[in-house]
């Protein structure tokens, strides 16, 4: 590009002529500069506008290119807004039929009958909430333990490999988790864990009925495994953002390490940890493939955790491609709309909380 060369040239020349302007008061440096520039501009000192100004004026300031560049970047950034609004608009538009037909009753009715055209999403909402919260109940204590271990207790040598392994968990595709769950977790549930639970905890009423191996509990376990890495890695980051002075202050008062973690770290990081948990909840609500493969896919509301269930995401995954009839399709899209809005809200809350903690936090102390 010739432009590049020209840029270099102005850089060399005008710097000197700029020096010249205030120079007359200090005669020592003036001759040297004039000599240097003499070849290019013999009478630079007399000219009212400096050569660099003139040069730039003839060349243009490049402001136009800058403005175009900034506009293109802004456009791309705005496309993120556009994507969200577009998804919202198109989902509302396509589900208009079902929105008009069922109204709010859609979320209270538990009929799901594509043949007669009667649709209600309650079993799916129940399945989604039950599996997600069960998964959270299993994952959160473990994730907290891992985060505390990694950020506070772990010997430095082990820290990198363990974080690597937990982040590897996040890189495994959902369908591979599902595959593993179908061929390993389901038999274990059916033959080992399930009978054990119904024998010793059957009195709670949660582990009754026939145990197929597939069901809400299996789905929750695989969900818990999947959301663990995200909760633990964000929690760890938040705990590392707590300034070291807090830890030192508590330790100096004679606290044990756990007391230091509890009062110095966890108490400071609690809002962020709640954010991380909600973020995990968002992930669990929308998780599709692995859950679809092991939950049993039956639109029922059962008390027993062994019973098959259905979630919002898995009903879409199973039935959307084969849905016949406008009402059926529109009901499925309305489920998608509900999922979209709920995850947006959950994620917004979570991000807000995480930001509130990590923003303004001092850079990680090394």
């Amino acid at each position: 590009m010739p432009r590049k060369v020209r840029t270099r040239n102005i850089v060399n020349q005008p710097l000197m002529s700029l020096d010249q302007k205030p120079d007359p008061s200090t005669p020592l440096s003036a001759p040297a500069v004039t000599n240097f520039v003499a070849a290019a501009e013999p009478s630079a000192t007399e000219m009212p506008p400096s050569p660099i100004r003139q040069f730039l004026r003839t060349r243009g300031s490049g402001g136009g290119a800058d403005r175009v560049f900034a506009a293109v970047m802004l456009l791309c950034a705005l496309s993120i807004f556009a994507i969200v609004l577009f998804i919202l608009w198109i989902l509302i538009d396509r589900s208009r039929l079902s929105l008009a037909q069922f109204g709010f009753k859609f979320f209270k009715s538990s009929n799901w009958d594509p043949v007669s055209g009667d649709f209600g999403a309650l079993p799916f909402i129940f399945g989604t909430l039950a599996t997600s919260f069960l998964a959270l109940a299993m994952a959160v204590p473990l994730a907290l333990g891992v985060a505390i271990f990694l950020s506070e207790l772990c010997p430095a040598k082990l820290r990198a490999p363990i974080s690597f392994v937990t982040e590897l968990l996040a890189a495994i595709p959902s369908v591979v988790y599902g595959l593993w769950a179908v061929f390993v977790l389901v038999p274990v549930m059916r033959d080992t864990l399930g009978p054990f639970l119904s024998k010793y905890f059957g009195w709670t009423g949660l582990f009754e009925g026939f145990n197929f191996g597939q069901g809400m509990l299996t789905a929750s376990i695989i969900l818990a495994i999947m959301i663990l890495p995200i909760i633990s890695s964000i929690t760890r980051d938040i705990m590392l953002a707590v300034p070291n002075s807090q830890r030192e202050a508590v330790l100096a008062l004679g606290a044990t390490r756990w007391e230091m973690i509890r009062t110095g770290v966890l108490r400071n990081a609690r809002i962020g940890i709640v954010g991380a948990v909600i973020l995990g909840l968002g992930r669990a609500l929308g998780e599709t493939m692995a859950v679809t493969m092991v939950i049993g896919n039956r639109p029922e509301i059962a008390k027993s955790l062994f019973a098959p269930g259905y979630t919002l995401a898995s009903v879409i995954a199973n039935e959307f491609a084969e849905a016949t009839g406008d009402m059926y399709l529109s009901a499925l899209i309305e489920i998608g709309l509900a999922l979209f809005i709920v995850t947006i809200i959950v994620n917004a809350i979570a991000r807000g909380l995480v930001w509130a903690v990590t923003r303004g936090a001092p850079a990680r102390a090394h």
Partner: protein, 312 residues
Amino acid sequence: MSTNPFHTPPPAIDSASGPPSRKPQSNWIRINNARRYAVNHVVTALTILSTIIVIMPLIAILVYLLYMGTRSLNLAFFTHIPAPVGEPGGGMANSILGSGVILGLASLMGIPVGIAAGVYLAEFGRGTLLGAAIRFTADVLNGVPSIVMGMAAYSLIVIRQRHFSAFAGGVALAIMMVPTITRTTEEMLATVPHAIREAALGLGVPKWRTVLSVSLKTASPGIITGCMLAFARVAGETAPLLFTAFGNQFWSFKLSEPIAALPLQIYVYAMSPYDEWHRLAWAGALVLIVMIMVAVTLVRIYASRGMLKGAS
């Protein structure tokens, strides 16, 4: 065990006339301390235990996957298209190609937009309300379930075209890539020291040129890694492809036709009742994970070599 040396009176007085009232208190402190240390040890043990519990399933999954995958992998897997039910053999060659096509398409659309949006956030929108809003929206969009993206692509493209297509799959995955890439690009650009930018601007280089040749170039290893991570995340996605790319049992090269994809094929085969297909599903899962890992590591190695390392 001396409890708190700073709270005891000076030793001279202490040894000469030990205050009798201190005895029960120090006993209490001793019991309390024993309890505190016990709790400390219990909690430490619990955190170690939970770390082990978390790492166990991962190792179980990886080991089992390696075992089942290598057992069922053969050359035919990479060269043949799926065999009809009941016939032995067959492979997923068309799915591997299809995944490549869809991912290439998604990267082509998603990466430039994502990087540009990241550049806006880091170089133009820092500290502005609009920048904060876009950053927040990107984070929120990142958490939207992938199946909703598939639904949007379906409503946008498939309904209009009246048939499933590779293009629709590419769009769905591209939408998923944008927010991830935007945020990593922004974070990487934020690590570029201001002095470098100011040096370029001070030399009279226009801003667009500064961004392209100085900021982006300095941050490029991190940005490439971020793109690869987004790519890896999207490569394993099944849900958005279910009703956009749809899958195909045969070779397909056209963007306007349904196309096979590796994760889709794994899903279909895993849910089938045939052992032969289960075998292929495991082989497919192994190939998928190995391909993702190899792609990520290769690009990471390439990106870290010959680039400005000491810049950040």
